[in-house]
């Protein structure tokens, strides 16, 4: 069983509403602020990208469904700051001490912003297990679509692909395994593949017999066929 964020293939969400050609990057000032606060807190170095994704996924389903996009970001950030012992519940309630924080020296400075954003955080690693699969090979996605290392843990295996047969399209190299990295269990890099699936193998009522879906899948998500 995956979590509420895993919505690929879900019914009932209605039309996609394109934005206007002149729509602003941020619809509201607080959207921009939520993004910036989240990035700046990430620069404190207390968690990684997989941990922060998992924090959003662990919002209560009613909150995940009810919150707007940046509401999810800011709320999950508050939860993560407490969980990682950066802030306390008292701090969030406005009753915490105002003293300078032990991590204040790590705060992202304006002058460092261009460099930090330009540097990024590559997820590929030189080391990892040998690739088991080669381009064109048929594979099956493991079942169930959950995290074998951690009950209720983070995974990037969508439910709709679990058990499906696909074909290796290309090898991306060794990439950090989110299922492990999100939980402080190490980066555990593995070969990552783009895997091609016939839409008709994923959906009984695929729109067109030749349509395909491609997912990036770590080696441990796949079994040989």
């Amino acid at each position: 069983m995956t979590r509420v964020h895993d919505m690929g293939g879900r019914f009932g969400d209605g039309p996609v509403v394109p934005d206007a050609a002149d729509a602003p990057v941020f619809e509201e000032d607080w959207h921009a602020r939520a993004l910036a606060v989240t990035l700046a807190c990430g620069a404190l170095g207390q968690w990684n990208l997989d941990t922060s994704r998992h924090a959003r996924e662990r919002l209560a389903p009613k909150d995940y469904a009810g919150f707007s996009y940046y509401e999810k970001w800011i709320s999950a950030l508050a939860d993560l700051l407490v969980e990682q012992d950066v802030l306390t519940r008292e701090d969030l309630a406005g009753a915490g001490p105002e003293a300078v924080h032990r991590l204040a020296g790590k705060a992202l400075k304006a002058a460092s912003v261009p460099g930090v954003l330009a540097k990024g955080g590559p997820a590929d690693r030189a080391d990892g297990p040998q690739p088991r699969f080669s381009a064109g090979q048929a594979v099956r996605v493991r079942v169930p679509a959950d995290n074998p290392l951690q009950d209720g843990g983070h995974t990037r295996l969508p439910q709709y692909a679990a058990g499906a047969r696909g074909y290796i399209l290309r090898l991306h190299g060794n990439h950090v395994l989110p299922d492990s990295n999100a939980h402080g269990l190490g980066e555990a890099p593995e070969p990552l593949y783009a895997v091609r699936f016939h839409a008709r193998m994923l959906w009984s009522h695929a729109e067109h017999p030749d349509d395909e879906v491609v997912l990036d899948m770590w080696q441990s998500y796949l079994e040989p066929l």
Partner: protein, 210 residues
């Protein structure tokens, strides 16, 4: 098997201690963090400025225009897009691993992130609201043609659709087909035809004005 407690799996999430109204919630958290020296408001301004004014779809359009007009760059982009776009200065956060996928008369490409909102920031900036919407995330993989219809796009029956679900840190850039009647166009003229949505795959490149 290790099994840590999942603190957020109880209903008492710490975020509920903040004001419920979202703008106030953001402001409250920013104020708390700034008072402790954990964030620098000027750094927040710099982040917002970067994505509001400096990094956006014009970067991706420059890449596609060059791919259309320069066969050597086109080959480099398909071979190793990360290196090719880095050489133009478009590397950074959420764009560390780029793969370019090219539309042809036989195949149309379209990009989604069903699990969150992964998107090639250095090339396209911050994703639009529709890309992050439940409707797009849910439907793009199951009924891409109906989603394209929401954008006013109808593909020929002979064109297959390949949807790329961005489940890892690889970010996909769609190279739309170059429109007819653009022979001799400069890269600047070409890039004016390349919309953000055409590089996600929910639009085609614009036809030149006749």
């Amino acid at each position: 098997m290790q099994s840590f407690p999942m603190p957020h799996d109880d209903p008492d999430h710490p975020h509920s201690l903040l004001p419920p109204e979202p703008a106030l919630r953001v402001k409250a958290l920013e104020t708390i963090l700034a008072a402790k020296g954990l964030i620098d408001p000027a750094a927040l301004d710099a982040i917002v400025d970067t994505y509001e004014n400096r990094i956006g779809p014009k970067n991706g359009a420059a890449v596609v225009a060059k791919a259309w007009s320069d066969p050597v760059f086109h080959a480099q982009l398909l071979e190793d897009a990360t290196a090719a776009v880095s050489a133009l200065g478009f590397y950074g956060r959420q764009g560390e691993h780029i793969v370019a996928v090219e539309n042809t008369p036989g195949q149309h490409n379209m990009v989604v992130c069903t699990l969150c909102s992964c998107y090639p920031w250095p090339l396209l900036g911050i994703p639009p609201a529709w890309y992050k919407s439940d409707a797009y995330r849910a439907r793009a993989v199951r009924e891409p043609r109906k989603v394209l219809a929401d954008f006013g796009v109808t593909l020929p029956e002979g064109t297959s659709v390949r949807v790329w679900d961005s489940t890892a840190e690889v970010r996909y850039l769609v190279i739309p087909m170059r429109p007819e009647g653009t022979e001799g166009f400069s890269d600047e003229q070409l890039s004016a035809l390349i919309s953000r949505d055409s590089m996600i795959g929910t639009a085609l490149a614009a036809e030149p004005a006749s």
